[in-house]
Symmetry: C2
């Protein structure tokens, strides 16, 4: 599980539940044991697992509590998912849906006494239709696999969370996953036209359409996206696909300070150029990359904007970008701008951005995810530095700057005499995260840009949502799942 | 009301309720009369109108039934909207929200005994922030006015229904309005980040965020968009704005047949070019334009693709488009392609497309709105022609071809001895529309691409939505509006 990609996005690699206790049959309640027997009879022994691999005891952020017992089901098809939900409904058993388990907010963490319903075997790409510009895929398809399947057709699937090589389309839909290219191509929501979901009672429901337009009744598709498995279980989706851009170019701009880089983002906003990706790396995150990879990209307090342009007129785009960023000779702002003509160098930088961030294994680390109005990036970076100073911790941050989404990393060195990787995080990191979330809200932002609420951010919901909003959300939950069987304690 | 713009999109200009009976105070029930007095005391006499202008008795598609009596309220601010809803809630009075009244599906048609709640006085553009790329606008702002206000900043608001000079942002949000540029820029949904709505009991609720990303709880913003005022009343919105493209170019391609033009759309799908707009006009719709404007654009059975390209690399885009459409010398397909270098000529064509379509005042006319998977355009045009033959009516059709959204026009000449503009449509037009909607579904499409359900398409809902879907939608309605006071009989 801990490939370089997962490490790049994991909230705390020490929390990957490699050493968590497994749920075994002997620990199952009589209720779950009886249910397991019935389901095994209906679906087969290899679909219903009473002694699951420890990997199923959590996701990339949150392991389940010690002693949690659950039944793992891995249906082979949609009918299998319906069978599991029908029996859960009949017996009043809670169900925790699970995509690829790469989530960062605990959305897939097992709940004691529940059925964990893994969608990982629903991996069919049912259809690719370039004339309709859609693909129909099952929930367990790995996100990057879809774009690989589309490439020979000259198409791609735009949503690309950093976990794209690990995460599944179904999980992306459950969390409305973001990524690096959202400012131009939108988040997962903008690429989903229709869904096939199984309701809490096992009913199969199709929502949405195959055309870009369609306004028949309430948009259940859009309500289900991002609902983290609390309303229904996504089993398949009709997604929008796009033609591969005719050209790509990477521009690297190094600013003397992070405030200068943030001003550069504002300058891009004022210009007609809209990058496909625009990543801001602060000085400390460049140091993290150097420590993790030996790349040698840090230079004092300088910060980097790593920009990808794509599409037609790529040279004009680059020219306008350079003008916007104030490049020139002599350059009053001290910004150094390079167009990375060498594709290998460009790809190296993007790989460093994706996989190199965060302090390494010698640290306790908490990865955060907040979004703010993008004009406030300089303020947000200043807040992060202040929080680091005040709590005596190390902070670094990268931002999907084009959409105001920051991923600060909060860390402390592990004591040399106690390198236990499963030791709990020091409370100061949680305190610092609490400060950070509150400051993001004060800047007009949100407590989660793209990772979701799950269990990890549940306690902060009331800071952002009004009583009226939460009451309404509970009533919507009741409308879908009156017994509250689906993913209890998450998201809402 | 019947400007050239409204005529271009109106389902049937004879249905504009210019001659409909007005509701006057003497026809109001004692309940409404008492309510009017209380509301006048709270909000002023000019806000609460017991004898409203006849224009308020319907929208551009559907006039209210004869004898319908209602109270018109035109609050000046959000607090006024809350006051109206609080009293409606307290007294169990139904409320019909109304934007600019330019809807084409009867969503704003008064219901007998109800309060019509017009948002037309909420016209403040509260904020334009180019660095955050957002505007905060009240519901009554006319759509085109927002883009005009943004132009000096170098920005625009992407959603552009053909009614943009008439319709309001709030109405656009209520119907999730589309338009000509959706294939590239998305429908209204893709440009709305957050909402301010008033719930059925008068509570003010803010949803969404000011950043492009944000995944806190269920996405109420997205559920509210397109709900046609059945869940809550939209009073303001935070919308996404975009920089004006650096260049625009119009390409006109004329094909010997409509099937050839549809094949041209498929060829564009296979290419890397993605037009900002791609409109298909069949031979009969070109004849309509000639009849209405004298432009002289029809030529036998030929059909036209009118394509707008925008952004960087405009010349390369045009070159790739021409290659995709099979232009060449000699040209085996018979397509004639012209880049309209003369901006005046290009604008003339777009104005003809927007305002010239549909048979004129000498006809009974029913305008339709269906969407299909865009690879099926040729089939859809063949279906429309067959329906015309079988029912003995005249058909023409234009399509937002880039997103598979067709606007067929079904018409019959009015008898010369009975030119009464308020005469009801002949049943054969409704029969033909029924065939059309069913055929659109059979092609994998939807009963409404962008106009909404309102009352006009209500009877077709069950053709598209399953029992499970409709039951779920009713439960969601209950969650928002347990007394069913908001826009009863519409949309759901």
């Amino acid at each position: 599980m801990t490939t370089s990609i997962s490490a790049s996005t994991s909230a705390d690699t020490s929390a990957v539940p490699a050493s968590a206790p497994s749920a075994d049959a002997s620990s199952l309640s009589p209720h779950l044991r009886a249910l397991a027997e019935r389901l095994q009879g209906l679906l087969g022994e290899d679909v219903v697992l009473t002694d699951p691999d420890p990997v199923y005891t959590g996701d990339h952020a949150v392991p389940s509590a010690p002693g949690t017992s659950f039944l793992l089901t891995l249906p082979r098809d949609v009918e299998g998912v319906q069978t599991v939900l029908r029996l859960a409904h009949e017996t009043g058993t809670t169900v925790v849906p699970r995509g690829a388990g790469s989530g960062l907010s605990g959305g897939a963490t097992p709940v004691d006494g529940s059925i964990v319903l893994g969608l990982e075997r629903l991996t069919r790409i049912r259809e690719i239709d370039v004339l309709d510009e859609v693909a129909v895929v099952e929930a367990g398809v790995i996100t990057a696999d879809l774009s690989e399947a589309l490439a020979p057709h000259g198409f791609f699937y735009a949503p690309d969370p950093a976990s794209a090589r690990l995460s599944s389309i179904g999980g992306n839909i459950a969390t409305n996953a973001g990524g690096l290219h959202c400012a131009k191509y939108g988040v997962t929501r903008e690429s989903v036209l229709g869904l096939e979901v199984v309701l809490a009672d096992g009913t199969l429901l199709r929502t949405g359409h195959r055309s870009i337009k369609g306004v028949t009744g309430l948009d259940l598709t859009q309500l289900l996206i991002g609902s983290e498995g609390t309303l229904a279980i996504v089993v398949a989706a009709t997604v929008r696909i796009r033609p591969l851009p005719v050209a790509r170019r990477t521009v690297l701009a190094r600013f003397p300070t992070v405030a200068g880089a943030a001003a550069g983002v504002n300058a891009i906003s004022r210009s007609p150029v809209r990058p496909a990706a625009c990543e801001l790396l602060d000085a400390r995150s460049l140091e993290d990359i150097d420590e993790n990879t030996g790349a040698g990209v840090a230079a004092g307090e300088s910060a980097v904007l790593l920009v990808e342009l794509d599409g037609y007129g790529i040279a004009e785009q680059a020219d306008d970008l350079i003008v916007a960023l104030g490049g020139g000779d002599p350059d009053p702002s001290g910004v150094e701008i390079r167009v990375l003509e060498d594709q290998a160098e460009a790809e190296h930088w993007w790989e460093l951005r994706r996989s190199g961030r965060g302090s390494g294994a010698g640290h306790f680390r908490l990865g955060e995810d907040v979004a703010i109005p993008k004009s406030r990036l300089a303020d947000a970076f200043a807040v992060i530095e202040r929080i680091g100073r005040e709590h005596g911790i190390r902070t670094s941050a990268v931002a999907h700057a084009g959409d105001g989404n920051l991923h600060p990393s909060l860390s402390l060195p592990r004591p040399e005499d106690n390198p236990d990787p499963s030791a709990p995080l020091p409370p100061v990191l949680h305190d610092a995260a609490d400060d950070l979330v509150r400051e993001a809200l004060a800047l007009g932002g949100t407590i989660s840009g793209e990772h979701g609420i799950g269990t990890a951010k549940h306690s902060w919901l009331d800071l952002e949502l009004s009583d009226a909003s939460r009451a309404l959300q509970r009533r919507l939950k009741d409308a879908f799942d009156p017994q509250h069987l689906l993913n209890p304690g998450k998201a809402l």
